[in-house]
Every structure is written in structure tokens, then in C-alpha cells.
Symmetry: C2
Subunit: 259 residues, 2 copies
Amino acid sequence: MWIQHKRLTIGVDDESVCATLLSPAPTLPGVLFVHGWGGSQAQDLERAKAISGLGCCCLTFDLRGHERTADRAQTVTREENLRDLVAAYDWLASHPQVDETSIAVVGISYGGYLATILSTLRSVRWLALRSPALYKDEQWGAPKRQLHADQDLAAYRQRRLQPPENRALAACATFTGDALLIEAEHDVVVPAPVMENYRAALAGAHSLTSRVLRGADHALSGQRAQQAFTDVLLGWITEMVVGAREEAAQVSLDEAERA
Amino acid sequence: MWIQHKRLTIGVDDESVCATLLSPAPTLPGVLFVHGWGGSQAQDLERAKAISGLGCCCLTFDLRGHERTADRAQTVTREENLRDLVAAYDWLASHPQVDETSIAVVGISYGGYLATILSTLRSVRWLALRSPALYKDEQWGAPKRQLHADQDLAAYRQRRLQPPENRALAACATFTGDALLIEAEHDVVVPAPVMENYRAALAGAHSLTSRVLRGADHALSGQRAQQAFTDVLLGWITEMVVGAREEAAQVSLDEAERA
């Protein structure tokens, strides 16, 4: 319950007035950002700032193999980066300001791939995927960098895949929260068939919002594509978070009416 | 400071990842609603619900002389209703969830008139006035109902008045926060000259947003006018509250960069 609704009386002179307080619950939604391979948390800060303005706690972090731990770039595995993500999630979910039942995860490319898998390990209410990548399940414990040499990813990412064939797609198939899927129109790294696989796999999501950023490439080069991404993400988070709060307020008001 | 910005490291395996938390401060903006003469807090609940969804604590209340205390309708004075408003303000400002430096007051008609005066007695950061009424300063302690008999309000509300001539306009002239002024196009109770007086008096406000609800009467009869009011109010509060939070987040990020 996010909105608390309380009827009260306030004393004034030797009389009183009837009042009603509508207040958000003390805990806030949490939003966790996962950057892509070769990226960093710095790329998410602007969007985190905007979303914190909506009354959310936002956490960004650098996956191992990046920034301060760039020396691990050649050896870090998907399993390790997934554990990074789980650790960051657990930190955020256990923060006293955060409602652990209201957590959004925003993942980009490799980070989106990891985010889908996280949703099978932890409670994710809102899942936003921007150009989520796809890898074969094999060599799960191998260095992430090695996959690009060993797996023919270009060919794999042109295939039509069913959820049972891929761990990330299987994760999407069991996801029942709200999903946002953002595609870059001219993405040659994560091409359209991958996005189609993800969209089809998300059939069981409570809601699905799918958008294409016109003229954008995988990296969202240029200010315009970045802004378009921010706009879509912010609009969706606003709808989800503010909408959920309003819904909770309505439930609270209805309950008070019946009482 | 509304947004807290913290760099941290999160342990994973025997390594760690760098992370950044952006979180709203534990206290929230407060929004106080003041209904018009003959109205009630029930009219504000829908808007309060929507605004609480933005992460604000909203308080509505019934002025003395209304609802449960309708027996006081013939005797209640402006001074008493102003004290009601001050009592409601103090209750909200002292609520542990509320940031007492970030309080908005939304007043309608008579409630708008009282809200301007409140801003001289208490700290009001954002002042939203919908069709604020105007009365002569004389007979301050007389029953409010009596003013309509004793004061030629119809003529008074056609006059061009300077702030020193009226307590509410004088209050506006010293107001330095952000102001929203909403006028009903076909308002014959609080006609255009009153609105012009208020707008001119608000010359020192940090920002001024003035809007006319097309085709609306004083009571905002009909669903369409009510919705237009809600849309304007919600858009303004969003700009003010979310904007202030984003600004605070930017300041916090800038400080962290310099550190």
C-alpha cells in the first residue's frame, strides 16, 4: 500500500475541523540500472536523476570488468556479472527507504540480458529493457569476452528462438510484471530478430510497452537518440509509479468510504 | 536538499562494485487544500489523490461553518477561518514526513483569498489560487456571511485596486515563491478585474503561471471544466515539485564531482 489515507480532526480555538491526510507510504519504489558491456554507471546518472525526481530511490553501479575493475574485462563471466546485479539488487531492496515489493530494473544491452535473468532470482515489478542482447546458454562460466569469439552471435541473433532455448527468453516467459522494450531502429549489434524474440517471450507480462527509437543505432549515438530514450523511459516509469500510487490512493479512499 | 547522492561500494564474492544511490530526502513536499465558501474538502480529494501520486503529503480539511460544523455558517468569521487554515498548515508542516520548507497551498475562491493571507503568517513555497475571491478589509471580525449584505462586493470586485488597499493583495505583493493563478472565463462571482488585481499584485513572485479555463463558470460546473482545472494544477505541481527535486539532484551530483 503506497498511499496512506487518514481522517483526523485538528483543534482550533475551542473547536475543531475535520481533515484528511493522503500521504505516500514511508518507503519508495527502487529503480536499479544495469549498464551494457563496455559502458558504465555514469551513462545512467542523468536518467537516474530524473527518475529520483518522481520520488524513487535509484541505484546505478559498475559491473565488474568495467571502470575501477577494468583489469577483469578479459576474465569476468556472465555468472559473475549476474552476481554483481543480485548484490546491487539486494543492497537496494534492503535499503530502509525502499519498498522491496516495488522495484524496477532498467537494463541496457548486456545489462538488459542480465536483468531478465535477475527477474527469476529476485522480485522485479517493472522490467525495462533497452536493446537487450542475447547469448547462447552454453559456456555460462566462460569469460564474457570469449563468447564473441566462440559463439557465432551474429548468426544466433538472426534466429527465431523459443523461450526454452535460451535462459533470458525463458526468464521473460515467466515474467508477470510490467515490461518496457525499447529497440534502436538501425541496431546491427542486437538486430530486430532478437527484439522479436524478447517481445514474443514477454507474452505473460501484466503490461507490455514496446517502442522503436527511429534512426537510432545500438549505442544511441547522438544527443537526439539519447533524449528519445530518456523520454520513453521517463514516461513509462511515470505511468507505472505514479499510476500505482494513484491506484493505491483510490483503494485507500474506497476502504475509508466503506468503513 | 531533496535528493541525496551517495557513492558506495557493494561487496560481491571477494571483490566489490562501485555504485551510486540517488534518493529523495526522507521528507516530502506538503500540499494543503483550502475549499471555497459553501464547499468542502471532498471536492479536493481527487486532486489530492493525484498529487500524492507525485510523492507529496496532501491535507484537505473542512473550514468551520461547513459540513460537520454547518451550524456555524452564519457566525463564522474570516479571522476564524484563517485560524482554521493556520491550524491545518501547522499540523501538516509538523508532520514527520513533511519538509516544512516545501509547502504548497491550493486555495479556491474564498479559500484562495485566505491562502494569500496565510502566506504572510507561514512559509508558503508554492501558492495556487483558483478564482480567488476578494473582500473589503473592513469588518474583519464580522461573520463572513454578513459581508455579502454589508459590502457592495459586486461593485468592489469591478475596481482596480492597489496592494495597499487590500490585505489579500498586499499579501500577494510580498509573496516571493512560485504562484499559479487560474481564472474561469465566464466567472460572474469573481470577475476578471479581481483576477487582474491578483495578477498585478503577484509581481514579485519567483515565477507566475496564469491560466484561463475556457468556457468555465465560477463553480467549474461540468466534468470538463473540473478536468481542465485538475490538468493545469497537476501540470504545475509536477513542474514545481519534480523540477525542484531534479535541481537538487543536479546540485548534489555537481558537489560530488567537485569532491
